[in-house]
Amino acid sequence: MLDKNGIARRIAQELQDKWYVNLGIGIPTLIANHVPDDIEVTFQSENGILGMGPFPFEGEEDADLINAGKQTITALPGAAIFDSATSFAMIRGQHIQLTVLGAMEVADNGNIANWKIPGRMVKGMGGAMDLVASADNIIVAMMHTNKRGKSKLLRQCSLPLTGVGCVKRVVTNLAVLDVTPNGFKLIERAPGVTVEQIQEATEGRLVVEGDIPEMNL
């Protein structure tokens, strides 16, 4: 079973050289720490920067340089700053090759819910609806089950949707799964996790074909 950093490490294997990548808040943010040495990717933050670098050294924080999670960041050589309208022009215009974001629920038809629990939690969708409606390549990074042990990979989302039919791949603490017309197709198991454990933790339709390899981390 993976921890959050493990999920990030596994997703980092999906990165390809010269890709522009948008990472959501939470687990996706950790992916930046695991980029393979032999490739170069550029991170976009939707509040208006391309070429986002690591956190600043203590004492060098700049209130005017943050990411979409409102964290202080740095700009790498070759960075560019732009306004919100231009930032979402990049996103809607499909100039970004990969979007990774968290979710509360993913359905086996690729629907995703991650912005609202009616009557209880209404933070807003931020840029998530634009990202999921626009990107061709969307990976969800999340725990397989919620804090009460309930599956987050569902037959149907119960919460208000963020986007429909948009998730291509889900990477959890238990598995890598692709969204297919027949449901979640199991691609890889996390180290030490059995197919049965994954079946147990998955409420949506699960397709298991042949031997399922363990992740190579």
Binding site: N47, F55, D83, S84, S87, M129, D130, S134, L161
Partner: protein, 233 residues
């Protein structure tokens, strides 16, 4: 074309109860601190505020929320603010949540004379309710309408008397699009210079979009998430 006003009080003069304001900023980054304080002091009520976020409990738009001066918020993300959540869940505060890219594009459209446009964001969600759907290249899109405001209030790093603005870092965010969309646009800047001192090639917001400008004071520029790494010695 000298657009300087003498004080923040002069800058916000004409803003009345029940008006619609746009306020630049992302989180607490690039927000018009001086004008927000002046709106609190002037006790203007019933405002509709279009702003990506709603500040935190004791800073930014949170200050207007505390005093219940806001009737309606139009935003994309309103976490980090307990008082906001309380007012919204209790029904005291009307809230219109909009995808962040649609919010930016609707402000831009409002300033650019584009009354409506199609975007894929929000299809199949609550956001699409009541909106026209049309397919382009086989993909569904929503018709979204331009946003305008009685006053847009933006914060820039440098400005000149003509209203030309340059922002610093990611404090740019929503400020340029909102500056375009205000019937009257007020700019507060950290450094105000005479025309000719800014490079015409480096202007982010051309002065035509700005009607009033002044140099703000005492910027706190609070950091929401101070994330750092230790220096290797």
């Amino acid at each position: 074309m000298d657009k300087r006003v003498n004080s923040v009080k002069d800058a916000i003069s004409g803003i009345e109860n029940n008006m619609t304001l746009m306020l630049g900023g992302f989180g607490l980054c690039g927000i018009p601190e001086n004008c927000i304080s002046a709106l609190v002091e002037a006790n203007i009520n019933g405002l509709t505020c279009i702003s990506n976020n709603a500040g935190v409990d004791d800073f930014g738009l949170g200050l207007l929320l505390q005093k219940k001066q806001i009737r309606k918020m139009i935003s994309s993300y309103v976490g980090e603010n307990d008082e906001f959540e309380r007012q919204m869940l209790s029904g005291e505060l009307e809230v219109d949540l909009i995808p962040q890219g649609s919010l930016a594009a609707r402000c831009y459209a409002g300033g650019a004379g584009i009354p409506a446009f199609f975007t894929p964001a929000g299809y199949g969600t609550e956001v699409a309710e009541g909106k026209e759907i049309r397919y382009f290249n086989g993909k569904p899109h929503l018709l979204e309408h331009a946003l305008e405001a009685d006053y847009a209030i933006v914060k820039a790093w440098k400005g000149d008397w003509d209203g030309n603005l340059i922002y610093k870092g990611t404090a740019r965010n929503f400020n340029p699009a909102m500056a375009m969309a205000g019937k009257i646009t007020i700019a507060e800047v950290e450094i105000l210079v005479a025309p000719g001192e800014l490079d015409p090639n480096a202007i982010h917001t051309p002065g035509i979009f700005v009607q009033r400008i002044f140099q703000g004071v005492n910027y706190e520029k609070r950091i929401e998430q101070r994330t750092v790494q230790a220096k290797l010695s």
